[in-house]
Symmetry: C2
Subunit: 457 residues, 2 copies
């Protein structure tokens, strides 16, 4: 009799696991059922701000593979609008509620992949019936926001709450749609994924396209009229808003895992080993935004929800379920984003992370250009490096620039991944030609500056 | 009494060495004299095609630091138009000819940096008095070519001989200036720095902008009239030309080194150790396009003339002369170029290199896109990887694409530098956001394909 794999959550991680398992084991050997509570499978939630902003015209472009493809080409029994509400480890069954038709189903499993993703952080004031308040976590969320923006009377004033990647990207998307936009951030700066000096460059660019930035400010409530939001309430008074977008971050969606007794780590995500097995629970795997992972630089467990990790983790789980061997060795916190044509990249530890992990370090900021200074289109680029003292080992890097900047972080990410020192990095054989780099690439200039700062000549 | 450093050759390597030495030792401790046979110091010869093509309007933009800056800010006695003709190791003197004023000078040294660069490969037929035949090795060469192109009657037909980087870049520059351009290449393809399948993409792009490509063809002579070139002669008949540009590559400029008895390696360049000392000759250093270096993947000595290596090697020599410690650990053959908006990157070994170095390997070619498929401006990208079998160790990589392609080679170069396997590479934490990459970066897609090709699941 065929084994039975139940996938809980049909987005990136879950469907990557399912399709990798299927690639190695056919239907007679492994039956696969995937439950997804939403209307879509395998879509790019990172693409939502670009769809809202009109850069990507069509919602369906964000869907990598639709349920029908999984059913016909992968022989995966995808059940949309089914929310798994319980996992019975003893009877090896899941319980799922049919959100569309009503009723409940129970399904037996031999293997289970827990891939429920993350849920947005929602303060009490945002748990409201008022119209005009939106998260942008799921494609369903995005669709609701788009409908609202297209409705009469057309919303004109937006407040974005939270200055992380999604908040900043949404602020830009709404400006592009012609709204007046204020971004409210509790901390001293938006884009706190980079150090304050680098984040300041981002704030400048945001102000440059007309985004109002209010920092050190907390939203405490909403004002409404006729069931529609009219303002957010803050300690400094109300801020008028026809639409409020929440970008306060997310936490792992662990409710069902926790109830079933799966181990939860200190970062709040489901624990796994490097093959994405849930330790101590045979036949149960977890992957994606619901799990915690190892930060390879700090050595600490972290929760970093990101599609690229979800895809990799799902693939690893699927290969292992399929009888192969693959591992997910952790992350180093690489991320890139585009803010008003400004490119931002980061990897590894920020100053505060390095300090709290107990590292001694130097940090340097090097100004350079994207291309040979004389080549047309050469633009300024700022590279920041943190290096352990006295070893010189790279601990983290941040890049802000106007072109060809963000993806240069990959060069630094691979150096960091391999534990290179800044001394070694000054010798790196990187591509040089006038249209692409100065003869000393910005990455190398920064490495040289870090070597000097270590003062070990 | 101060020590005396003589620098032979005032371009990238020599002046990098001089300025690094000066940074660590002041005038009372180290006197520095630099001889340069040309009119310029520290210029970007890689920029010459862009100046010829009009992309860079002004010649002076290519000069990073002029002699006056070196004299006043670095206290370096720069002597232009002085060609060093001999090095007397016993008396520790150099002999230099004054090309401008005539006469000869002898100068004592304690330390010497040999940084004479490279000389173009010039077949017999090109050693001609005829007007209209140009190398593009030096800024003086470039100036002569530009004068010729501006002269009446305006040249209309160009033949570029040699299809390496310079040849291809010059062909494009001449097309940009409105000339009819044919490129003649002895081998089966231009751009033989990448494998044939990847080079074919480059040839297609060149044909696309109207460059005529003649492969498997050797130029054997010139036809002239009234002292001007009118055609190149080939086995397939004459090809009309008002201007002929030589891009046949270069060899290390070792004449003086050889006469002085400095050791020359099998690649034809001056040998050095990793601190850029010439072994067995105390106080003598060498750097730049005249030296040979270690290829870290093949383990073989190679001659790879490139400004970025010259700068690094010069810096290393200068730090060591200055009393510091620095090493140049070799190269991996990374190079990038732009051909008619097509971006080309390569690092490590090509198939023929890997085979001749004795490696067993798999090679894969992965098609992908520069950005998320749905994000505007996403363009095709082709990534080729070579991985050792069965270890999976990366041996080489090539990228061809229409945007954001060339510098992605750096990610692969750092992986290669660190001896990563393609298996390890599939886990790499690279930057992901829709404007910059698909959720699986092209680099990762290629690594996955290589893992599959190794067939070790």
């Amino acid at each position: 009799m065929a084994e039975r794999l139940i996938v809980v959550g049909g987005d990136a991680a879950g469907m990557a696991a399912a399709s990798q398992a299927r690639r190695r084991r056919d239907r007679d050997d492994l039956e696969i059922v995937a439950f997804e509570r939403g209307h879509f499978t395998s879509y790019s939630s990172c693409g939502i701000p670009y769809w809202i902003g009109g850069v990507v015209p069509d919602r369906d472009q964000l869907v990598a593979r639709d349920p029908e493809t999984f059913r016909t080409s992968f022989d995966i029994d995808v059940r949309l609008r089914h929310e798994v509400t319980g996992i019975d480890l003893e009877r090896r069954e899941v319980v799922a509620r049919n959100l569309a038709g009503g009723g409940e189903v129970r399904e037996r499993f031999d293997q289970l992949v827990y891939a429920t993703g993350a849920v947005p952080l929602t303060p009490d004031w945002a748990r409201t019936d008022a119209d005009g308040v939106f998260g942008v976590q799921t494609l369903d969320d995005g669709a609701a926001l788009r409908d609202w923006l297209d409705r009469e009377p057309t919303p004109r004033r937006a407040v974005v709450v939270g200055g992380g990647y999604i908040g900043v990207e949404m602020a830009e998307a709404l400006i592009k749609r012609g709204l007046t936009v204020d971004l409210v951030e509790q901390a001293d700066q938006p884009m706190s994924t980079v150090d304050a000096d680098m984040a300041e460059l981002v704030s400048d660019a945001m102000r440059g396209i007309g985004i109002g930035i209010r920092t050190g400010l907390t939203v405490t409530g909403l004002e409404t009229r006729d069931g529609r939001v009219t303002a957010v309430v803050t300690a400094e008074g109300p801020m008028p808003a026809d639409v409020v977008v929440l970008g306060l971050g997310v936490r792992p969606n662990i409710a069902v895992a926790q109830a079933a007794g799966l181990p939860i780590g200190p970062s709040g995500g489901v624990r796994t080993d490097r093959r994405m097995r849930v330790p101590g629970v045979p036949g149960v795997w977890a992957a994606g935004d619901c799990v915690e992972t190892l930060h390879r630089v700090s050595g600490l467990p972290v929760h970093i929800p990101l599609g690229t990790h979800a895809n990799k983790q799902g693939r690893v789980a699927g290969i292992n379920i399929g009888g192969g061997y693959a591992t997910f060795p952790g992350v180093i916190g690489t991320a890139v984003t585009k803010v008003c044509d400004l490119e931002v990249g980061r990897t590894g530890l920020r100053e505060r992370d390095a300090a709290s992990a107990g590292f001694e370090f130097v940090s340097v900021v090097a100004e350079s250009t994207s291309r040979a200074g004389y080549y047309p289109g050469s633009r300024p680029m700022t590279v920041k490096l943190l290096a352990e003292r006295p070893s010189g080992r790279l601990l983290g890097a941040q890049i802000v620039g106007w072109s060809e900047a963000a993806k240069r972080i990959d060069t630094l990410a691979v150096a960091l991944w391999n534990g290179m020192t800044v001394d070694e990095m000054t010798s790196l054989d990187l591509g040089y030609a006038p249209p692409y780099a100065p003869v000393w690439d910005p990455v190398l200039i920064a490495a040289r500056k870090a070597v000097d700062a270590l003062d070990r000549r």
